[in-house]
């Protein structure tokens, strides 16, 4: 169960090998989390993340394999993850994501479809099943990792940005439908984070490490914030960016 500080005991991570999710999981295990289910596509990567969770205090770690390019199997993966948890799940983190390469992908229907599947179709399908299970539990939290890229779609990563925008808006509507159920939805909107996802890209302003993101997440959980910005100042930065005329927006964003 979650305690008065929102610290969970049983946690499911969808995208358990994600660098951001691992940083969050380490912090959770150092507090009250003892039972972790890691779901992902690479057993080896999940095992490494599992060992790390144990180093930080988890006593039980299980793994579930899935491929986010098959959204039709998402519900089954959720069922397997909850069965592996064996107890009511206090927190589910959805960290699955794919950045893609816009200029290579944009003439490739298959790659474009993959971006939509991994970043949008799989997560929202999973969310529908999560809603069913968690509302029946009567409690729990879902953390969806969106991105500041969802706030205003950029020419240089519109496949990614548009899919994240869809997920972000979906999650926002989803959160409103949870009132009174005991289940909470929280949306994390990070700026650039130094992880394997952006390895090789030029570092943008307000880039943070995954541990800082995890700190903002801990704070956001304790405060029940529906939207968690990381770092928090991006809330204001993107408020301005969002309202720039298109020519200015492109002048700023196409270069980074």
């Amino acid at each position: 169960m979650e305690n008065a500080f929102g610290q969970p005991q049983n946690v499911v991570v969808l995208g358990g090998s994600s660098d951001i999710a691992r940083a969050i999981t380490r912090k959770l295990c150092a507090a009250r989390t003892s039972n972790v289910v890691l779901a992902g596509r690479s057993q080896k990567a999940l095992d490494a993340a599992g060992d790390e969770a144990k180093d930080y205090g988890a006593t039980t770690v299980s793994t579930v394999l899935f491929d986010a390019e098959q959204p039709e199997n998402a519900a089954k993966t959720i069922d397997e993850a909850f069965a592996a948890a064996g107890e009511p799940v206090d927190l589910v983190i959805i960290a699955v994501g794919l950045l893609g390469k816009q200029e290579e992908d944009e003439n490739d229907p298959e790659a474009t479809w993959r971006m939509a599947a991994v970043n949008y179709a799989w997560p929202v399908t999973a969310l529908a099943q999560l809603r069913k299970l968690m509302v029946a539990q009567g409690h729990g939290r879902i953390l969806v990792i969106s991105s500041v890229a969802s706030v205003r779609v950029r020419r240089t990563m519109y496949n990614y940005g548009a899919a994240k925008a869809g997920l972000d808006r979906f999650a926002f509507g989803f959160s409103q439908g949870l009132e009174g159920t005991g289940v909470k939805m929280q949306i994390l909107r990070p700026g650039y984070v130094r992880t394997k996802m952006i390895a090789g890209l030029k570092e943008a302003p307000f880039t943070t490490g995954p541990n800082e993101v995890a700190d903002y997440v801990m704070r956001g959980i304790a405060n029940d914030s529906t939207i968690i910005w990381s770092p928090p100042i991006l809330r204001y930065v993107f408020f301005i960016l969002r309202h720039l005329p298109n020519s200015l927006w492109r002048a700023v964003m196409d270069r980074t």
Partner: protein, 444 residues
Amino acid sequence: MSRELLYGWGLTAPGNCELRTVYDEAQVLDQLSKTTHTIARGLGRSYGDPAQVSGGVVLNNRGLCEIGRISDEGVVTVGAGASIDELLQLSIPLGWFVPVTAGTRQITIGGAIAADVHGKNHHVDGSFANHVLSMRLVTPTGAHTISPNSQPELFWGTVGAMGLTGVITEATIQMTPITTDSVLVDTDRYSNLEGVMTAMFEGDANYRYSVAWVDCMTKGKNMGRAILTRGDHAGVDQVTKPTLVGPQPPKISVPFMPPSGLLNRASVRLFNEAWFRVAPQHREKEVQSLSTFFHPLDGVSNWNRMYGKRGFLQYQFAVSDDHSETVVNAIKRLSESGVASFLAVLKRFGAGNASPLSFPIPGWTLALDLPIGSPRLPGILDELDDMVVAAGGRLYFAKDSRLSPEKAQVMYPRLGEFRTLKNRIDPEHKLTSDLARRLRLVGE
């Protein structure tokens, strides 16, 4: 029958449960046969999550509210859902007071037994269950009349077990005779913790009721400054106009939730300061009403809303006299950390009883309310837990909302004994709560 969000007095960690009011034993039996996860609930005055089970069925005991005739010897049979307030309305005019009361009258008899509550008289009279002659308990395996003589294991196993052995439907209680509705109170102010602890250690035995309010925010030489109030029921010849009038309903209510953060370091410090300024250095035999002395907070209903939507928690621990330094160290740690805390309640405990899970152990108990919000608070309280564990002490389940299961096992070494009983009378573990899940009280 409805699904709703339930939480404790601290307004934290809500769970969506199906709430069903039960009116008699047959209904309780029926519910227990039909459901897989269920727990009883009284007036929800526990701070954390013991009276809820997310996704399960919560049996509201308020339908079990009958209060029987009080015998000439002061023995009364009361429905488990009747509140101490309702009992006092009837009993005070007849010259009877409850043997033990919490700091609020708004708790049920079921809740009082399930938590085995203690009052300001623990050092003399022990906890609530010490005055329960018998009770009726409905478990998934049947209904039982249990008393310390007839079924000691089930009786004491139910006391302090936070509803996990079954649903209490009624209890027969020995009341305390009174001749007036007044208390004669002595008040003393101390400029530091050592002073008040010495006075309590040496002098509490002379009073039936005793409690000290301690300031946990002042550092240095005034660390732990305190106001000690002690008293006894007044006799007819000790007050000018003796009366026997029951408690009055609250006059003020907190109508809405102010933003979290209203009760912060500055505002709480100001309140504590005012409290000390108002208290006399020394005053003897002041006549106070039962309500003023025992239930000062009941004058304002819903005062918990003052903490805002993030809510608050109460940290209460007990340690033996051999470890009184833990009280000092805990207050030192709190005052140095600067977290906002209203005056803490310091009390002496007398002997414990036979229950494996009852909280009181002889020595000291300290309780303080803390708003949720400071990011350092979880870590500070984990440190305090370690201090309490090292001293062989324990936390109170009725107040807890954040302890870890590992430390709960150490604090309650007789948990294994309770689990053996649990497996016998509730083999499918139908009775469970969010507290039981969080602290893994019922085992695998």
